[in-house]
Symmetry: C2
Subunit: 348 residues, 2 copies
DNA sequence: GCGAGTTCTGCTATCGATACCAGTGATTGA
DNA sequence: TCAATCACTGGTATCGATAGCAGAACTCGC
């Protein structure tokens, strides 16, 4: 039923080792033999079994990428970049969706060890991922963190400039005259939440505003609903904020939805800015954002990882920080007066 | 270095078989022995190796899902549904992004066979996928098609009602008075392109309009750029269409971008409708669409597949057709007069 | 013509786990 | 009491492939 090296060997009248050598393009096989074997392979429809292969060679040429949400366009671009780069280096990539949950993350990391995956690119759930990642280390599986660092864990890392980016976004809001600026963030367990909060505070202090604890709310999930709930809390305040800095695209989308659902307008009533582009190609570019080069996150992470696996790099950890771009659109209220995005664009 | 059943067996003072039985929750192990083994497993930090497992048991509990574009929100939802359902049935899912290319599709299907993946859910590149899928069949790997059928291939299938959906969308346009209605479609190699074209023609004939070949253009890729190029071709016509039916969300987004880039307005100058939601949670709902229950595509496909694998179903192929919902928004021009989406919604 | 060096090929053990069969006690039924 | 059944445990072959070594054939140079 199933075709193995043995069948091919018998058919071609050679040993299994010769077949193996042909399949793996190894040297020391005469052209005549090689051709005979290749013919047998084609004729019998032989496909090598990676399980057997991995068992003896200890190599699977498989990498894993774990992100909290494959539907988030930021991570989608990361995946694309990582996949393409890995493929060019001869590795397959398995995509895992942790849904920002520790349990799923643990499951996936377990699968990765069980399946002898050779390396991992991961945007960790948070600092709590440390134990799980240390287990990886014990098993000798190299990994690269993306987007978020993990407190107390030494590791290769590709991340954005969260402090600086947040500073620029909030500076932009203060320059527009805003002083009551809220922040919708995530659990403090996540490094980007801490870093972006730092940038936010820096920007406020730069205009002599002391951050108001009431204006700091946490989304309880990484999707838009979490952002909407957080925004509702802000809207319920006695003194509403005039602007909101959302920690990422999903939170911002939820926030805008909540503001509109309350019958208010963005940016007329409340301005909104955030990290990351909202949709890869959007119909109506609307949000003012700190755009991060998401695909480069993936590309660089894959490169770092492959270098580790091939043991071309042995030393201590490497950290790559990629700056973002401020893209000013409508949601911050910087450019308005009845002009549509379209006319704005032509006017430029 | 690496912990195997043998190490655990030695440590617990039992045979490797007993360890295996404990790990696999099999019967016929005394509680005392079981506990001793479990302690050894914990102490040594043993993780079973799936390669060894799969080799002897011939089971990997792995499924593959292949879609043309993981960034497309339609497929993202399909993935979610499939992943969750499969997981509940005890299967892991590997996500593959074929980028609508035959070569990548072939690579992934090869990987699937090599890795003894037990079943596949696939939105095929087109009818050309037949050969590749027949290879799967030869290797005894069951699969379920989603979204698209493949001419000349018998297989389980979960798809939307393309003919009916297209009919409803185009009926909607004709009811609004449009008669010069263009269609942006994909290669005729793709079943949904053929089916949606049929619905388009039906709807036109119902108002005594003969389809104009000049108004049928094909996008050369499944992303927004393909849609934009196609739209540019339509805009270059001597007699422009007054409305466009785009085969899917990506094509529609590209079309709208192209229309706006030409200084025209949607829907004032050209109305646009399409299949599939554009973004899962969008800031400004704008496009009139035939929304398909994407997550159900995934859920049902996973169910059908698991039933096949468990051999609970042996008979001939099963076809599931899921109807869509017409969602009327602004892009078709049905509701206008300066009212925003928001006021519209509240008015409803 | 003979040793040294290449190139080519094959044998066998092994990777980590499970399947299959066999064996040991203990329990049950007549 | 004896045979039959059952729960539990272990030995060994095997899955499909590669590693490592060893042997065969072939090429040179002198």
């Amino acid at each position: 039923m199933r075709v193995t090296v043995r069948d091919v060997a018998r058919h071609a009248g050679v040993s299994v080792m010769t077949v193996s050598r042909v399949v793996n393009r190894a040297d020391h096989v005469s052209p005549a033999t090689r051709q005979r074997v290749e013919e047998s392979i084609a004729e019998l429809g032989y496909t090598p079994n990676n399980l057997g292969r991995g068992l003896t060679s200890r190599r699977t040429r498989a990498l894993g990428v774990i992100v909290p949400d494959v539907a988030n366009p930021f991570f989608t671009l990361v995946l694309r970049g990582a996949e393409k780069t890995a493929r060019q280096a001869g590795y397959r990539v398995t995509i895992c969706n942790s849904e920002a949950g520790a349990d799923l993350e643990r499951d996936y990391l377990g699968d990765i060890i069980s399946n002898q995956v050779e390396g991992v690119i991961i945007a960790p759930v948070g600092d709590s991922s440390r134990l799980r990642l240390q287990a990886l280390k014990r098993h000798g599986v190299p990994f690269v963190l993306i987007d978020r660092s993990v407190a107390g864990l030494e590791s290769d890392l590709v991340q954005g400039d969260s402090v600086g980016g947040a500073r620029i976004l909030v500076d932009h809001l203060t320059a527009l005259g805003h002083r009551r600026i809220a922040m919708i963030t995530l659990s403090n367990d996540i490094s980007t939440a801490r870093d972006r909060y730092r940038g936010y505070v820096e920007a406020l202090r730069a205009v002599d505003v002391e951050p108001d604890p009431l204006l700091l709310v946490r989304s309880d999930s990484e999707d838009t609903e979490g952002g909407a709930h957080a925004m509702e809390a802000l809207l319920a305040l006695k003194k509403r904020p005039t602007a909101v800095f959302a920690i990422n695209n999903m939170a911002a989308v939820g926030a805008v939805q909540a503001i509109r659902a309350a019958g208010l307008d963005v940016p007329a009533d409340i301005a909104v800015v955030c990290f990351d582009e909202v949709v890869h190609a959007t119909l109506s570019p609307f949000l003012t954002v700190m755009a991060q080069p998401a695909d480069m996150f993936g590309v660089l992470a894959a490169q770092l990882l492959v270098e580790r696996i091939d043991a071309r790099v042995q030393g201590s950890r490497r950290i790559v920080v990629l700056p973002g771009d401020l893209i000013v659109r409508q949601s911050c209220g910087a450019q308005l007066g009845g002009r549509t995005w379209h006319s704005l664009r032509r006017g430029k």
